[in-house]
């Protein structure tokens, strides 16, 4: 190291009294820490085991850990400025682990890093860089929390101010030690100042949301592994989250990991339209329950600690879960609370009961006679799937019974016929169970899943194609609990794959089609008269299935793609998900109206959807926007409209 640089003053001579004092204070600090953390640890440990949980595949867990914890990627990507400030503090903490260990060991004469030694000198400078970064980061976070005060943080607690100052003091006392003589009073005083701050910090951790710095690495490592992963029920007495006894170790760990940053609430469509639901408060409600009553309590989870009304306002759009920086999985908790209320009959809602009865007695969520589906099949001469065709075209409730949904199916059929892709529909089909799954009716969901799986097995279906992201998700992921579903694909994926053929025939030039395949953003507008089309990402296609580019490719080959301010991973829900399309009036503003206004504000003349539920929500919401409202189409209709007529 360069000789002109200052050397860290790390005292290595401590009197017996000093050693005794240090040990006593360290023990007190550790005791203060455990007095609070012990009960929390025990509550997590004594929560119910998670049914269906497995550590494998470990590779994915390590990958998530590196990406989300070590690299802080999610923290940064979802809130860049605050995220980077946080990452600086986090990385400094990691770098300081060795410094702090040495710092404490020094008091006992066991210091292993010497400021004079090569390794020590290197590491102390290395840590010093992080100390500077950390001091800047924590200062930034302090200013954000106490001066800028974003509303999503909620009420600012004085503890976070104290914690920020302690962290700043830790860094200041460390850096200051570079500017005092190697031995003497000043060095000794700084050592003690640093130590006292450290020992004061430790017991504060489990008292505040800073508990996340201990727990969230575990939370992220022990996640359920996939988005909105609803765990199976275990045994005859498991009805979902009813009482404390139903809280699993993962749920409890997540509840104590919440850092109260409010990102979940910031993106929640229910909360943003004036409803009671606040995903952060749901998590904190579970935490408060655990604090007051513990995981063995028979008290209901819904009531004092969380509101049933709020739980049933969730559209399951998953914006909360998607961006949670500490790995909390909100959907299994929200759906779990609903399961608890529905499976025990506690939830009373006339619209909900109507939906359940329609599916108990009939085949579809719209409550229409199955003969309506037969008529639609007959009218459009849709072939019956017999195992020889390439695709089993899954109509779904909307595709088979809803007039707009039927138009989407007809367009897709037109495209498939044009391409010469063979397909057939099932003679009988029931609702996949998506709305009842999300509303927490496990009895109906199981019946529907099993009945459909049996029908598909009998027809020897290998590949399903569907216009509905909800069907696709439910078939592919949720049915797994009851059997092995066939391969399933959303029509956006199918259409994007066949775009080159479609564009060739519909008179587009080929180079243009190739362009669209590569990148949407780079697509140059080919003709000045191009129609401006805004694409709305359906939650169940985007966040649930990670399909963003394919529908955009389809849109871009039909017109000029424009983006709404909230798009792709950040897309704002249409309001239909989670079974809410079938429930009654919303309180506050309508989610669909807020989103429709946002789509209209892009100046697009056409709104393209890729989900029949989004479609039906926007049909009404756009009509409310007045006469100049853009037209509403599905991407299948965009793909079909330039086809030659004879292929109709």
């Amino acid at each position: 190291m360069c000789a002109s640089l200052p050397t860290l003053a790390e005292p290595n001579h401590f009197s017996l009294l000093e050693r005794f004092l240090f040990l006593a204070l360290a023990a007190a600090s550790a005791y203060g820490f455990w007095r609070r953390f012990g009960p929390i640890f025990n509550k997590i440990l004594h929560s119910k085991k998670d049914p269906g949980f497995s550590l494998a595949p470990i590779g994915r867990r390590v990958g998530d850990f590196v990406w989300e914890v070590v690299l802080q990627a999610r923290v940064i990507s979802q809130r860049p400025l605050a995220g980077i400030a946080h990452a600086l503090v986090f990385w400094a903490f990691c770098a300081f682990a060795l410094v702090t260990l040495n710092h404490c060991a020094a008091a006992l004469g066991l210091g292993f890093l010497s400021p004079e030694g090569w390794a020590g000198q290197f590491y102390f400078y290395f840590a010093a860089i992080f100390a500077v970064a950390c001091a800047i980061g924590i200062l930034g976070l302090f200013i954000r929390r106490f001066v800028i005060r974003p509303k999503w943080l909620g009420k600012t607690s004085p503890e976070s101010g104290v914690i920020a100052m302690l962290i700043f003091a830790l860094m200041a006392t460390y850096l200051a030690a570079f500017y005092v003589p190697g031995s003497g009073f000043a060095g000794q005083a700084l050592w003690w100042a640093h130590t006292l701050v450290l020992l004061a910090f430790l017991p504060l951790i489990p008292h505040t949301k800073h508990l996340h710095l201990l727990l969230s690495p575990f939370t992220i490592f022990l996640s359920r592994g996939s988005f909105s992963n609803i765990p199976p029920l275990s045994g005859d007495e498991d009805f979902g989250l009813v009482t404390g006894r139903d809280l699993t170790q993962i749920v409890s760990l997540q509840a104590y990991s919440c850092v109260e940053c409010g990102r979940c609430t910031e993106h929640c469509p229910a909360n943003n339209t004036g409803k009671e639901l606040n995903p952060k408060e749901i998590v904190l409600g579970v935490r408060a329950y655990l604090n007051d009553l513990g995981p063995q309590s028979e008290q209901p989870l819904l009531g004092k600690y969380n509101s049933q009304k709020a739980a049933f306002e969730c559209t399951t759009c998953g914006a909360c879960e998607f961006q949670c920086p500490v790995g909390i999985e909100h959907l299994p908790i929200l759906v779990g609370l609903r399961r608890g209320a529905v499976n025990t009959g506690e939830w009373e809602d006339s619209h909900g009961a109507k939906l359940f009865l329609a599916l108990e007695r009939g085949s579809n969520a719209l409550g229409l006679p199955a003969t309506e589906r037969d008529k639609f099949i007959e009218k459009n001469a849709l072939p019956i799937y017999d195992g020889t065709q390439e695709y089993c075209l899954w109509l779904g409730c909307m595709g088979a019974y809803d007039p707009r949904g039927r138009e989407i199916v007809v367009s897709l059929v037109q495209v498939m016929r044009h391409l010469g892709v063979t397909f057939g529909v099932l003679r009988k089909e029931k609702c996949t169970g998506d709305p009842v799954r999300r509303l927490g009716n496990d009895l109906l969901f199981q019946q529907l899943a099993e009945s459909n799986l049996e029908a598909l097995a009998q027809s020897k279906t290998k590949k399903i194609l569907s216009i509905c992201p909800h069907c696709v998700r439910t078939i592919q992921e949720d049915w797994k609990e009851f059997g092995t579903p066939p391969e399933v694909e959303h029509h956006s994926e199918f259409l994007a794959r066949h775009l080159p053929e479609l564009n060739r025939v519909s008179g587009h030039d080929l180079s243009h089609a190739e362009n669209t395949e590569k990148s949407v953003g780079a697509l140059a507008p080919a003709a000045p008269t191009k129609e401006k089309i805004v694409f709305h990402d359906p939650c169940y296609l985007g966040r649930y299935r990670n399909v963003y580019d394919q529908p955009r490719d389809v849109v871009a080959s039909a017109g000029e793609l424009v983006e709404a301010p909230r798009h792709r991973e950040r897309s704002f829900c249409c309001g239909a998900g989670g079974g809410l399309a079938f429930l009654g009036e919303e309180t506050g503003e309508r989610v669909s109206h807020v989103r429709a206004a946002e789509l209209v504000a892009t100046g697009a003349t056409t709104v393209a959807a890729a989900c029949p539920f989004c479609n039906t929500m926007f049909r009404d919401a756009l009509a409310a926007q007045g006469n100049n409202a853009p037209q509403l189409v599905d991407i299948a209709q965009l793909a079909a409209r330039n086809l030659p007529r004879e292929s109709n």
């Binding site: 499976n343 009959g345 909900g352 359940f356 108990e360 199955a370 003969t371 009895l443």
Partner: protein
């Protein structure tokens, strides 16, 4: 209050109904079965009476093994126990024959109230409940949309034609046939289904309840309704066509 609800299992509403080769019944091969809807309302009424006044709700159903699924559904929704009259020949019995079975099964229970749907969705005779009342020697009332327990017995609301209702009082024990739509049905729950497994279902064979006896009514032949579209173009100018239309609406369609 001890309430017995008589329930029938009928083909699901969307079921593809095909006439059996004997032309006297329907082909049961591809059928799915469900609880007769008016009976579902009778069950709901019974459960609500029990919730308000306490007591016991017993489900009674006659039919082959398959009826068990409908009985379990009723238990899942909250009935306390069930009696299953096992009989494979329900289809060949007339309303009197079916009512005899039910009445014999009801007698030893001495219930305070017997409820059933006003008619079945498959045959639609609307007689079984009334005959049961006669066989038990109990007062009855039909087409009930509302039931209230009073000190003296029951206050009920009957549906008449054209939006009229009749309010009557009757003593207990009694038999009521329930109209659909009076209450909101509850949905089946997972907890209900699990609890239902532990509830008692007593099987009684039809033979033990007395001889079947010769039916008073015999079924000769059944057929599917034939669809007819008869569009007529009325000739003449507007005035003549309108006059002809009024004529037809009055005397052919009889809607005016």
């Amino acid at each position: 209050m001890k309430i017995i609800v008589a329930i029938k299992q009928v083909p699901e509403r969307d079921a593809p109904v095909r006439i059996a080769s004997n032309h006297k019944s329907i082909d049961e091969a591809d059928l799915n079965w469900a609880m007769n809807e008016p009976d579902a309302y009778a069950l709901e009424e019974a459960l609500q009476l029990k919730e308000k006044n306490g007591g016991e709700v017993i489900v009674l159903s006659a039919g082959p093994e398959r009826v068990g699924s409908t009985i379990r559904e009723a238990l899942a929704k909250g009935a306390d126990r069930a009696i299953h009259v096992l009989c494979d020949d329900l289809g060949s019995r007339d309303a009197l024959g079916a009512a005899k079975l039910l009445a014999e099964a009801i007698k030893p229970e001495n219930p305070d109230l017997v409820l059933t749907g006003l008619q079945s969705e498959d045959l639609g005779l609307g007689q079984t409940g009334v005959i049961v009342a006669e066989l038990l020697g109990l007062p009855h009332s039909t087409l009930i949309v509302q039931v209230e327990k009073t000190d003296a017995g029951l206050k009920v609301k009957r549906e008449l034609e054209e939006g009229w209702f009749q309010h009557i009082e009757l003593p207990l024990p009694a038999v009521l046939t329930i109209q659909s739509g009076g209450n909101k049905l509850r949905y089946a729950t997972l907890m209900g289904i699990k609890r239902a497994k532990m509830k008692e279902v007593r099987a009684v064979s039809a033979a033990d309840l007395g001889p079947a006896g010769a039916p008073v009514l015999t079924l000769e032949n059944i057929s599917l309704p034939s669809k007819q579209k008869s569009t007529q173009i009325l000739p003449g100018n507007a005035k003549e066509a309108a006059a002809a239309l009024v004529e037809k609406l009055k005397f052919e369609a009889r809607v005016l």
